[in-house]
Amino acid sequence: MTVQLKGRAEAITIQWIPKYTTLERAAHWLHTATFVPLAITGMILYFPFLQPLAQGPAGMTFRLIHRVAAVIFGLLPIVYFIFQPRRLILNIREFLPSKDDIGWLKGAPAYYLLGRHEAMPPQGRFNAGEKMNGLIMIVAWFVFGLTGVPMWFGKGVIPPEVFRWLVVFHDLAMIVSVCMFLVHLYLAVAHPLMWAGLVSMRFGVTSAEYAAEHHAKWYYGPKRAMEIWEAKKREAAQKGGH
């Protein structure tokens, strides 16, 4: 694909490689479409300054929206698993921590804040930040479900002392996942280096050059990715005059 960007003299060519299946993308966007209303309607009960919205028939409507969205939110991974179990399991495996993550944590400030490309060791299909996002969302899904379902149907059935714990954990999961969501939103939409992220989640393809840079282990394979990185570090060191 040939693209002419504003402000650049020559056109650039982008080679697209597939990254996300249609179901993966649909699941992601449906997850977003339910997570946001859930967070907002939940926050109406959480923030005292939103108290007027929580009252009376309006409050009951927001609670109803919360429940409808919750059902879809809860069923989504299950439906995903029914249709593409291998893909879901592959993704979950890619989210699990690995040694690359330590390298990512060490290199993240220099890379994301200062743009120093040689500071970041080669990453796999998901880097540590993306893994954190995925794992937090998965854990939050379990916590929301395991607390939310009894909160919905269990009043008068489960002991109030247990119910109080459910509310507390429901809140904690909300705080953690919403903070993660805000960071995710920023990186996906606003950070200049992450431009291909949103493209890949919308269209399923990512630029080969982008993948070579940001997910070198996934692109070149572990051995060659390390070789390329060592070369890049040497080059930067020479330029820096160390």
Binding site: Q15, I17, P18, R86, A208, A211, A212, K217, W218, Y219, Y220, G221, P222, R224
Partner: protein, 128 residues
């Protein structure tokens, strides 16, 4: 009949292709990654390799074909590259801009008759 190695990390593709080939009478070996494929090749010496590009990592298939070209035992084995990458560029050069030693390219989703015809041609080319 000839021995064909099908290399792809997608089990559905492997099963489908195996059925097509076995019905024609070919003996079918399989592998799910580049590393596995090279190990099987060195042990079983297939007559032809059907190679997917993106497996354990994006350039996996390309690295395999490159290693085959450099291995005296394997460099004469015909390779048909199977790819879901579209566009003429995929055939002319690789994603990293280097030359890829491959006998044929074929696009997914595969047309069984086309695949069998290409395999026949490649095997004949080898024999003759």
């Amino acid at each position: 009949m000839a021995k064909i190695l099908v290399v792809d990390d997608d089990p559905d593709f492997v099963n489908l292709t195996r059925r097509i080939l076995q019905r024609k009478g070919y003996e079918v070996l399989t592998a799910a990654s580049g590393q596995q494929a090279l190990a099987v090749m060195r042990k079983e010496k297939p007559d032809l390799v059907l190679l997917d590009i993106m497996m354990s990592y994006i350039l996996d298939g390309l690295d395999v074909s490159r290693e085959m070209a450099q291995d005296p035992a394997l460099k004469d084995v015909p390779v048909i590259m199977v790819t879901s990458l579209t566009g003429a560029r995929a055939e002319a050069a690789s994603l990293s801009g280097e030359y890829v030693p491959v006998d044929e390219w074929i696009h997914k989703p595969i047309d069984p008759d086309r695949l069998l015809a290409r395999i026949e041609d490649a095997l004949k080319g080898k024999a003759g």
